[in-house]
Subunit: 537 residues, 2 copies
């Protein structure tokens, strides 16, 4: 027997429709140059998205087609985020920080019928065209009249296209399991793989992100995604902001400490999220200028392990709650956040950070388990590592174009983790980055986090290098704070206080900078290529 | 093209499974006598619910069957809430405050295959049996050994049944649109009508209720539903608490000010919700004892219009945020809450209350419109009333056993309301309670709310009485504060300051008490029967 409730599909367009109708005047602010912004309301965004949808239909886009986007965080990209799935197509976000070769590969794989590109990213698009990419059409996103596209193929000016439409378009109903978005993984460990979000997964994920134990969005908030719209739904910011009618602040490509600080203050931002590198940049600026954040109250940190000092600095010096989390492109991405339970709520200082520096606990909708190599679930003792597997309505079942042989009940993340008695997850490594030394597994993440507790270290990465006796031994590659030095012996002693004896690296190597991937993670493939044969000195 | 996300149905049992796995030790406290409670963990509740599911299967309950419950808010009722839909049947909650005749009618309508009843409610069940009700079996919920059921039919002791099962039961998967709950409306305006919640509607509603702008549940909260489990999902408390892993406090039938205050303090309750009458009782107690609430931070008020003085007292004297809301059995029930937007967030005092005393604004998932008698949408000017219609995935499409002729895109609520420029709803009346005086409609709710601003009035109800000249004129029926009196002329002047001239009642009638319905609303049908021919003096 079925219930007597209305059959209403969960649709991406319904989020925007809600925001337009009930929060039409609430601002969406888009930074178009440092210290310069343009302010629209949610009703304007909806109206413009409807025009874009009309334009796409006129260009021949059909339901199920992939439409690419190559852009930073701004209102036109947001409009595309809604217009493309709204008219039934799939919004395929491309990461402009990827290598051109990777982008060529991905465009080929996705078979996009067209592309929306930032006017500022036209040089990149030209490079792609020179590498052989041919797109049926390109829409250039920029201020009216700004588009001057020296492109080989057909192109349109975004604003001109919109001006030609009347916006008299009703968002159609689609089945909620229809594809809405396509995003490729970061390519940290190999070739990027495509993940196809559905309308349903996108809406449920947005509801989850807005919950108090996740990012806690309300209509009183001003939220700023530092996380890019081009990767994994930007943690759900564009969707969750519309869902609750929050003010949305889009920073464009300017994420340096000074510009970010000015924007956070000017737009009274209360909630933001991003990768650790960006927050380290902001922290350096705040420390150097000795200034305070007056509105920010919650900072989500994910993508890589969150360094302890970030948590401490923002909680102690800036009175901002730091919320580290774990997720993947394949998990929409938010799958765990380090929010306290009642047992942790009353704690402060070290006792509090003990929990908050973990990788978090899953919200309703995400289930997790850890299994050892024999497939048995490991104990929740905070010590025994296991392969992390997840499932839920916003977790990937298979990749784009992947043959779906048998149904996958659990998604294997490729991450290794522990769970403690309270159900807090700690990512200890990627399977591919684990170091096998003698009979023991060494967690590169653990050693890096411990190394970063030393005040002289600015960045740290640990990889395994061959060792005749142990098979592999850890090598610590580090960037020091400007003008500082440190003795190897001091580091060894520092590390011995935080990690098991056998995990203390044998080799220490100081470099000027670490290589980072397109989504801001340390590029260990590159490090292994460069230093994988390092044997000291 | 469909997305590549996992197909995981939204199930009621998944809420409990999540709570048991990730918040297993978090408390569910059940008051079994004033000042006396029993504490279980979410893992215990899950384990006991699995046993109950096994017992129900052994009793022959099959998917789609209705299993009735007749009980107050306690952990066994909570277990039934999960066990019944968890094993595929429909949890049909019955309101013990209804007239026995209505219960007989409802039981007949629902065709329950069995009933779970509180040991304390056996006298009521005996009455029903004497009225001819015959149930295949009855399970008596009480402490072990407490069940002594002098019933005519077959009966079981809840604890004995559970002890016979091993709990080794996996919650099966069901289609998410399968029926999970059945609840009849309050019968305020006529014969109660059945609403069938699905697994999907229940889970989506719970996610919505936990959002910051709704009740904002987190794992750090201790939440107490004063709203009964037997009516409309208790505002989603039992589901939303499991969803976030909050501590859940169940008060039993003891809702007087003294007992409620002691419980709120002892269990450090942070969030509660209920009908205005209960909060008025608590307020009187707090005022008389001159005591403070130390943990409560949010109070939901719904079911009827929230009197202004309740908002003011709790916000000013107790530093508790009051959140009035609007909903119906047919809307699961939470469909609007008076949470501020950015424009209201900075306001205080009168300016703040102006918004918060409205009936709220809809969360994502609920859409609303107001139409006049010609079917045109009325202006959002805060003045023009229209018939309120709603739609969404947790809004009723048709009633239990109602022939479903054409699909209903919008549900007609039978309420009349205004919407203002900011999208805040104000319920002005039920269609059936509106008073037509000359050419003008008079809102009984508006006059009642205005009357209650007078310090001498404790309760107030306005009905229409026949008038030879105007057709109908309003009559104010009131209960005064103990030992107080008031002149008719003073009241008239007081009202003239708050409502249109033609809405000031002609007749004033002081009574000892007002009749209330089973869900705590003023019973206007009874008032009209008693005073409908009142012509003064
Ligand atoms: N809190 C965290 N702590 C440690 N690692 C994290 C954390 N959050 C995310 N990660 C890492 O990021 C990964 C997900 O990143 P993403 O989906 O962007 O692509 P990627 O895994 O880096 O690239 P690819 O899958 O293409 O190799 C996780 O599997 C995990 O290894
Ligand atoms: N904030 C509010 N202000 C005014 N009225 C409210 C408010 N909240 C709820 N109500 C009233 O309660 C009604 C819903 O109550 P419920 O579903 O419990 O049954 P009922 O309508 O009282 O009974 P029945 O439908 O059987 O006559 C709404 O339609 C509305 O009239
Ligand atoms: Mg990956
Ligand atoms: Mg009703």
């Amino acid at each position: 027997m079925i219930g007597s409730m209305m059959e209403r599909p969960l649709l991406v367009s319904a989020l925007l429709e809600h925001a337009a109708r009930w929060h039409g005047k609430t601002s969406v602010v888009s930074q178009r140059a440092p210290q310069e912004g343009v302010t629209l309301g949610w009703a304007d965004i909806d109206q413009r998205a409807r025009r874009l949808a009309q334009a796409l239909i006129r260009l021949g886009v059909r339901p199920g087609d992939r439409v690419g986007t190559l852009g930073w965080n701004h209102h036109r990209h947001l409009e595309a985020y809604y217009a493309i799935p709204g008219m039934g197509a799939i919004c395929h976000t491309l990461n402009p920080r990827l290598f051109p070769d990777q982008l060529v590969q991905i465009l080929h794989d996705a078979e996009d019928v067209g592309l929306l590109v930032d006017s500022g990213l036209l040089p990149l698009l030209l490079t792609l065209e020179n590498l052989g990419v041919r797109l049926p059409w390109v829409i250039v996103m920029g201020e009216p009249g700004e588009a001057r596209a020296p492109l080989l193929g057909t192109w349109f000016d975004y604003e001109v296209l919109l001006a030609e439409e009347d916006g008299g378009f009703n968002w159609p109903d689609w089945p909620e399991d229809q594809a809405a978005g396509l995003c490729f993984t970061s390519g940290t460990t190999g070739r990027p793989k495509g993940v196809v979000y559905s309308h349903r997964s996108t809406v449920l994920h947005a509801m989850s992100v807005a919950l108090p134990d996740s990012l806690g969005f309300s209509a009183c908030d001003s939220v700023l995604p530092v996380v890019p719209l081009f990767h994994a739904n930007a943690w759900g910011f564009p969707h969750a902001a519309a869902l609750v009618g929050a003010k949305l602040v889009l920073p464009g490509p300017w994420l340096d400490g000074a510009t970010l600080y000015a924007l956070l203050e000017r737009e009274e931002v209360t909630i933001s999220a991003g990768v650790p590198t960006v927050w380290r940049g902001l922290m350096s600026f705040l420390q150097a200028q000795e200034v305070k954040l007056h509105h920010l109250r919650l900072l989500g940190v994910g993508g890589s392990a969150c360094p302890s000092m970030l948590v401490r600095y923002f909680e102690q010096e800036q009175k901002v709650t730091v919320r580290p989390g774990w997720g993947m492109t394949e998990t929409s991405p938010v799958a765990a956040l380090a929010s306290p339970k009642r047992a942790q709520a009353e704690l402060s200082g070290e006792a509090r950070w003990h929990w908050l520096e973990k990788s978090g606990r899953p919200p309703f909708g995400v289930d997790m388990r850890l299994r050892d190599s024999e497939g048995r679930e490991v104990n929740w003792d905070g010590k025994t590592p296991g392969h992390l597997e997840v499932r839920g309505p916003w977790i990937c079942e298979h990749y784009w174009k992947e043959a779906r042989e048998t149904e996958r009940a659990w998604f294997p993340t490729g991450d290794v983790a522990t769970l403690d008695e309270e159900g807090f997850l700690q990512i200890t490594d990627r399977v591919k980055d684990l170091i096998k030394s003698g009979g023991e597994w060494i967690s590169s993440v653990q050693v890096e986090q411990a190394a970063l507790l030393h005040p002289v270290l600015r960045e740290a990465a640990v990889i395994g290098v061959p060792d005749p006796h142990w098979g592999e031994r850890p090598l610590l590659i580090m960037v020091l704070e400007a003008g500082r030095v440190v003795e190897e012996e001091e580091l060894r002693q520092h590390l011995a206080r935080h990690v098991p004896r056998w995990s203390v690296p044998d080799g220490f190597l100081t470099v000027d900078s670490l290589p980072y991937t397109a989504t801001g993670k340390v590029d260990k493939v590159a490090l292994r290529q460069r230093y994988g044969e390092y044997t000291g000195g």
